[in-house]
Structures are given as C-alpha cells and as structure tokens.
Symmetry: D2
Subunit: 305 residues, 4 copies
C-alpha cells in the first residue's frame, strides 16, 4: 500500500504584523484542515513560505504541527534549501520533531544535472530514518525531475513517492505507469485545477494550496473520484477552478509567488481562519481592494454568503 | 571615487575529502591572490560554493579571510540565501566578522518581481552598516536585475555597486552610462572572457572565477587596460579565453556548476595551490582523465611547463 | 453544436526518396484513417511537415485530400506561415481547394504580442469565407495564446474552435469553462497521452499525430469516453501511451521534430500503410536499428504479431 | 581577405498605407545609406520585415536594391523561411536577381538539432553559386548556432561568414579566435550597442538596424576603431546607445518586433528619408505620441535641431 494517499494540503504559515509565526492562527488552520477530513498535512512547503523561515522557526513549526495533529493526520515536512548537507540538517530536525516523512526538492541556486540530483536524494535518504518524498517543482528550482530520474529513485527505494508540481501531467502519467507494479509507491499532484484528471490517471493524492481555503471541496472531490463519480467530481473541480482564480487578483502589482499564497491568506482571513494576510518579506501582501475582489470570488463559489 | 575597483576574484573554497574547509589550502589560495596583486577578495560567492555552506562555516570562512588579508585587500562577502531575513542574518554575521562590504542577489526559489526585489535590497541595506553590492546572476536566481531596478537602487544609495554575471553586456553599459555622473558607483563584470570589452566601456572592475587559477593574468589585463594598451589587453584576454576552456572539460558527466568550479579546483591542485579538487555534495569532482586534459590547457597557456 | 468533434488526426505527408509527395501512400494513409472511423482529417499541420512544403505542393495536398475524402470526413487545412498576409494567401488556396476550415497559428519568427496576434486572426477571418481554428503551439511559434486571447477571439466569432498543443491543460480547461455557454465553440487537444483527461474535462475532440499509426485506438478511446466508460478509456489510453514511446527512439541522433514524425512514418511503413519513412530536408530519417526498436513497441502494443 | 567587412546595415523596407513597398522611399533609404559610406547593404533581413514578404515582392526588393546600388556597395540578401528547400528557392531568386551573397538562418517552426542544421547550410550552399553567410538569431528561430557548428561550417567552406545577433559576445569571440588563421572568414555583430567591443575583439563588421537612422554614426564608429581610437569610438558608441533607446518607446503597447523597426521607421520619417512609418500586418505602427518621444531622442543625439 502507498504510504500516503488522499488530500494533503501544503499548510499556509500565518504571520503576525512583525513577520513572526502567528501560532494561534496556525493552530486554527491545522484544525480547520483536520476537521475537514484531510488525509495528511504538508508543512514547510512552498505554500508555507518555507524558504523565508530560518532553522529555529522551522523546528517550531514542525513541533507545533505534530503536537496539534496529535496523530489525527500524518505530518509531512518540507526540508527545502539549496544543497545536500543543508537539506540533511533540516531533515534531522524534522525527524527529531516527529515528522512522518520529509519532502525534498532538487538542489537549487547551484545547477546540478540529473545524475548529481539522484545522488542528492540518496545522500538525504541515507542520513535519516524517515521516508523521503521527491518534490518536482521546476518553476522554483530551475530543473525538472525527469521520468527516468524519478523512476530510478523509486525503484531503488530511495524515495517513497513523488509530489509533482511541474505541470507536466503526461510525465506524471508515465511515472505512475512505470511504477504500477510497485504497490508502495505513490504519486501526488500539486495542481489545484486538474486534480480530477490526475486522480483518474492513477495519482494517489493531491497537495493543493487552495485546500487551505476550501479543504471540504478537495475532500469532496477526492471522495467522489474514489466512488467513481466522474461527473460529480468534474462539477466540484470546476467550482474549485473558479475559486482558484483568486491567485491572479494581485498579479502584476505583486509577483506570482505573493499573488498565490497572498490570495489564500486573504481568503482565509475573510473566512475567520487566520488573523492577518501578511506575507514574509520582501513579498507584498494583498491590499483592501484586492481583498474585496477575493470576497466576490468567495461568494460566487459558495464559501461566504 | 568608486569604493572598489580592479580585479576582485571570487575566492574558491578548498575542501577536504570529508567536505570540510581545508584551511591550509584556503590560506594559500588567499596568499596566492594577494601576492599576485589583486585589488580585493570576494568570498562566499557562487564560485565559493556559498550555498553549500551553513551559517557557522560561512562565519569561519569570513573570519579566516579577514585575518589572512589583514588589510592588504578589502574582503567582500557574499550573503546569499533565498530570502530577505535570512540574507540579513548572514549580513550581520559578515559585518561582525570584519567584512568590508556584502554582496546580495535577488531572492530565489520564491519568485519575486522587480518591485519586491527593490524592497529586498532596501531591507538588507537598512539592517547593516556596510556597503551593499548588487549581484545580478539570473542563471542561479531565475530573474534579471533590470536596468531600471539597478539604477534606482544606486541613485537612492541603497547599493554601492553592481557585480554583473548576467552576460548582458549591453545592459551593463546602459547602467554605467546612467550612473556616469555619480562618482561613487561602480560596476564590475563577472565574465572571464570579455573583461577587456567591459573595462573599455567603463566597468570599474572584474570578478573572474578563473583568477583563482591565474590571478597574474587578470592583473596584467587590468593594468594594460588602465594604460590604454588595448592591443596588449586583447592578447592577454585571448590567452585567458583559451585557459577558460577548462570549464567545458567535464561538462555532460558533471553539471555546468561542477564543471566550472571543479575545473578551477583541479587546475589549482595541479599548480600546488590547494590539496584537493573535491566539490561539495552532491556535485561531482573532476576525475583523472579530466585533470589530464586540464593539464594540456595549462601547458598551452603557459601556466605549467 | 460545435462545428467539429471527435478524432481528427493531423495527417502525415508521406514522401518519396527524392522528397516529393508519395501520392499513393498519401491516399492509403487517408483511407486508413477514414476506414478506422475518424471524424475529420487535419492536413498540413505540424505532423504533415507543413512548413517544408511550398505553395503549389500545399495546394495539391489539399486537393488530393479533399478528393479522397469525398465528403466522408471534413478536411481541416493548416495555413501555417510566419505572417498575416502569407497566411491569408494559403487560406485562399485552401478555400479554393475545398477545405472545410483553416487552422491558424500565431505569427512566428517575428515576435508579436497578444494584441497583435488577436489582429492577426481577425485579418485572416475577414479575408476568407471559412471557419478559422486557432492552433496554440508555443513550442513552434515561441508564444502562447493566452486564455484571454482565445476567449476574446471565440466570443467575437473570429475563431470557431481551438486546437491546443501547448501542453497547458489547466489553461485549456479554463477556456472550455469560459466558453461553456457558447454551444458553437469547440476545443481540441493536440496531446496523444492525456486524451482521456481532456475529454473528461469537456474537450470536444483530439488531434493526435499518433492516430496516423493507430487510428482505431483513438476512435475506441473517443467512443469509450462518449459512453462514460472512464476505466475502459484509461486502459486504452495507457496502451496508446506505451505506443507513443516510439517518439523517443531516435532522440539525440535526430531532433525532437524528426524523432516524432519520423517514428510515426517508420511505424506506418512497417504496417504497410506508406512506402518510405523519408523526412523532409534537413531532417534525419530513422535508421534500421531505430526501426527495429519501433517494431518491438508495435508488437508490445498489439499492432503487429 | 574576408569577403565583406565594415558597416552593412540591414535595410528597412518602407511601406505604403496599404502595405505595399514604397519604392521611392526605398530608393531614398538606399541612397541615404550609400551616401553615408556604408560598406554593404543587407536587404531582406529581420529589420526588413522579411518574413512578411511573399516571393514576388522579395524578388522585386532584391532587384530594386541591386539596381540602385549599381555596384557602389555589395548587396547581401536574406533568404529567410522555415525550411531548407524553401530557403533554396529564395536563394535561387536572389542569385538570379544579382545578389552578392545570401544570408541564411537555422530552420524554424520545425525544431532541428545542430547536426540537422549543419546539413541545412550544406544543402543551401550546394544549390547556389553564391557565398552563404550564417545568421545566428535565436530570439527568432528558437535555437543558437553553437560555436562548434559555426566553426565546422566555416572550416569546410560552407559558410563565408557569420552575422551574430545572438547577444552572446563571448561565443562570437571564441568563433573569431578559432577562425583566426583562416583569412577568408568574417564575423559581424548584429548589435547596435556593443559594436566597439565586438570590433575590438576582432569582428570584421557590424549589421546594425539603427544604421538606417544614423549611418554616418556607425561609419564614424567603424573608422575610429580602424584608426585605433578607442576613446573616440566609445564616445560615438555611447551617443548611438542613447539614440537606440528609441526602441523601447512603444514597448508594451506594441511587441518588441514592432517597437524596434517601428521606431527606426518613425525616426526615418522624421528625418525625411521615408514617407510613412507603416509596419506590415499584424504589427502595430507607432502613434503620434510615440513619434514625439522619438523626436526628443533625435534632438538629444544631434540628429535634428
């Protein structure tokens, strides 16, 4: 059986006005997700603004999440930094703090090739006693985990699964087909908008940032697909696609990064889950005008009256 | 007067077999450079494998460089990490350790736009009491510092200068022209192979990784250009271009990153400056066959008999 | 009702040893497709090596296809060249030759923006009395037809439909949702490997180059999806994915373009549909060793014994 | 001796309001350039909007240029279309019309690799009895002519020279060094803004679109560099850099392509050389407000009072 399946949101890290973690809001976010029936929690992913946090803060975030989850959902932890030994440092902290698995990208800033990247995952796997999940996110790290790379790492047991945020669903499909006879492997999509498609082609789960705003929607979508109700799943997915349009509201004034997570935080604030939509420096937070436009989207998709 | 001018090599960080800093080799590298007459030392740049080093190691590298330099050459320090507050953390360490300036890239992994990147430099500048040098290296961070961004930061006094490793020499020229009447500003190229051109268009210095191998060559090139001897400078530059071909020797088997710095380390080992050509994990070091091919280049360019 | 739906293969143009069109093989190709029950024929697309053919040859190809089809399937004609007036020239020829619609890309070589590209489609539409289908293929033309561009052109009636070869299925989904209440519009995917997904999200058809090799497979896939048999469709799609692996057999020795269409031609030769796998100059044709590897794939997917 | 050297402007093609060639303005443009002392004329390049013109128009443009030039300057002719046999068709027309050489890009729309591109140049060279000049313009064709490709073609005699519009001046320098002992080869830069640098590193000429506006400036720059007056050349180059800023005036409203050539045409209209600044469809022409901003630049750089 795959180690993890289902809806595993990359959990937003709520901040205070002075850029510290807002622990109360973080607790409410975790409870909101667990209460909606998600199947796992992915903390310290890109949506968590992971690369903005230093080591001590990351440690506290993991400890807090593990404590709040309290066994109700597994806690996957992103150990994201440019190079191998620094990633191993984060991974050991995550392990000590009670993580159920670590999520590892290819190196970045430095430019490694596929062979060196394979070694990177092997070094990390050897250094800890936790499952390693490969995180394919070329838009952030500048390289794609090729099908052959992922499959080689999976077959030799270095990685337990894949989180695919590359947008290359054809490649994901080939990886899933290649690993079909290896029951332990799982592949999840990082997409918000083609989740039904990816599940239909055999993906074992989904890691949508938008689930911070509407976890019930993604759990419904998952359940409908499990039941083979493709029509119902499509309708739910299309509602979530309309909801996802919030990520373009501030684009231009803010960067793509700020626009996406900033929109999630702004919607979560409106829904009473977190207190502030502050983004880590130097990102811009959404303003009142943008928040009003997000309210319109929340209303149109049934999240507020 | 510009704060820094001339040849400012990005200093290689020699490693031991178990990936620690080889302090003896590092000392010899620094002495080799200072002895050749370089005008400054840039530690913890990309060529230094900066993103492979954790905070304590970076601190010791700066302290060591400052101690060895002992005022004979200014020490510029790369404070390179994905986001603002982590960069500020490195900058404060560099300041405490005696750096003469810090060198800052745009944020990476996260995707900021030009406006957020301007704020990034402002935040760093405000947090420390050292000159800030902008480091434009799109191949590593995924975005270019646009001419308007650099000039705005320079005119308001946030940055004292620019290290341009973008390869866009036309853009560097425009920045130099825009800042012509601001005597304090300096622009340096990170190129190894068009240094004469960049100096001829008004650049104030050069930061070539290859100077680790042949600092005398770059100092000669600088001196010839200062004397207006364009023909002599071109001849020296062309010899250095032939020397630079070492960076393609291992390409394919290793990544571009490993191939470049790995070649410098391999040549420095052959020249007796450092003990080992080990590269930080997960990069591949050059093998004996590749080292032999580099020997041929060193011979053809007069560095060994 | 959408003007066109279903399986509309981009028809390969078989060549003789001296690079002329092999009309006999072309006839057999068209009959092979029509006989398998495809719903339309797209001649002079990228798979047809359209940009290798001059105007007179293109005219004869359209005339031949229209004559062979003889009303059994509509004939869509690619009118692909860099700029507006040259595209209009091709479109008028297609119209005179009996085409049922023309398929138009964004300008290329020149670099137009979205606004100029909108004008491009308007100019073409005004010049002829045939439906215009937008062809989104950034890998060939260097720009993406943005969602807003496609939807604007569709809503004003300039384009009747979209052939999406961009690989951005999320964007295709948004276009389909935006146009949901406009019954006349159709969106087709150019993918070979996520056809079931695209149909499940509402696409009206598929234009797979691989259908030249196995049209029955894509017709089966279409029929299964029309019947709501997602499981059966997935199994058929996965067989076609294994078949599609032929496009990587010669990659490296040949370019991506030669490798894909060259593989289709090589397989069609083996299946007795065409006489030669010659590719237009300067592309490389597949060699005997590569052909043997394609035989293995044909056998594994049930196309030969 | 290299076949061609010096300033060889890519000649703008003036248009009438209905998008035909304005032959009177074209004659004045050619006379303007020849009168300023340019060393060659490059018609049907990217700046000539070559891909907008059909075969008959291209033929007339070459015939017209050859007739006006009348031996006072060699006429180089771009034979630019996506694929080999269509390029050969254009090349034969150019040859018949009296061209002194043809200028050939890599194939485009289709995606060829370096090996296929080498064959492309060989096929073209074999088909005609004129020198072939390689035109490296990745921004338009989507691939770079690698150093090894260019040097192989040059050494075997397939190409007589290179026009480099890639912006990769380091690569140009290596090609020039590799070909140093082959006196027949020439390399020219397509840059407007680093001409002094490229000449200083050994380039044999320059093909600047901006020379349509200010040919005297580029001839002065050439002459100063021939005389070894680097300081004088730099001052002239910097004035031309300020003039070149016209290409960004309309950017955003128009595409990059329209903004550049459109600005040249607008300036030429102001200088009385051509009658209209019309751009070929679907490109946008510059408007009155943009023309006024270009006037300011013309004044600041001494071209109008």
């Amino acid at each position: 059986m795959p180690l993890f399946t289902g809806v595993v949101p990359p959990v937003v890290t709520p901040l205070t006005a002075d850029f510290g973690v807002d622990w109360g809001s973080f607790t409410r976010t975790l409870e909101h997700l667990i209460g909606a029936g998600v199947h796992g929690l992915f903390v310290l992913g890109s949506t968590s603004e992971v690369v903005f946090h230093d080591e001590p803060t990351r440690r506290r975030i993991v400890e807090h999440a593990v404590k709040v989850a309290n066994g109700r959902a597994p806690v996957l932890v992103g150990v994201i930094d440019p190079t191998t030994d620094r990633v191993i440092g984060h991974a050991r902290i995550a392990e000590a703090a009670g993580a159920d698995a670590v999520v590892v990208t290819a190196p970045f800033y430095t430019r490694t090739n596929q062979a060196e990247t394979i070694d990177h995952f092997r070094y990390v796997r050897t250094a800890i006693d936790l499952p390693v999940i490969a995180y394919d996110i070329p838009v952030c790290v500048g390289m794609k985990l090729e099908r052959a790379t992922t499959v080689a790492l999976a077959r030799e047991g270095t990685i337990a699964g894949l989180k695919d945020s590359s947008g290359d669903d054809g490649n994901l499909r080939y990886v899933l087909q290649d690993m079909r006879n290896d029951a332990g492997f799982f592949g999840m999509t990082g997409s918000e908008i083609v989740v039904d498609s990816c599940l239909a082609m055999g993906a074992h789960g989904v890691v949508p940032g938008l689930a911070n705003v509407d976890p019930h929607g993604y759990v419904r979508l998952w359940t409908l697909m499990q039941a083979g109700d493709h029509g119902g799943a499509r309708a739910e997915q299309e509602r979530l696609c309309r909801l996802f349009e919030m990520v373009w509201v501030s684009l231009g004034r803010t960067s793509a990064g700020s626009a996406g997570v900033g929109a999630f935080k702004t919607a979560m604030r409106r829904l009473g889950i977190i207190d502030s939509n502050v983004m880590a420096r130097p990102q811009r937070s959404l303003n009142d005008d943008e928040a009003a436009r997000i309210d319109v989207i929340l209303k149109a998709t049934g999240l507020i009256d």
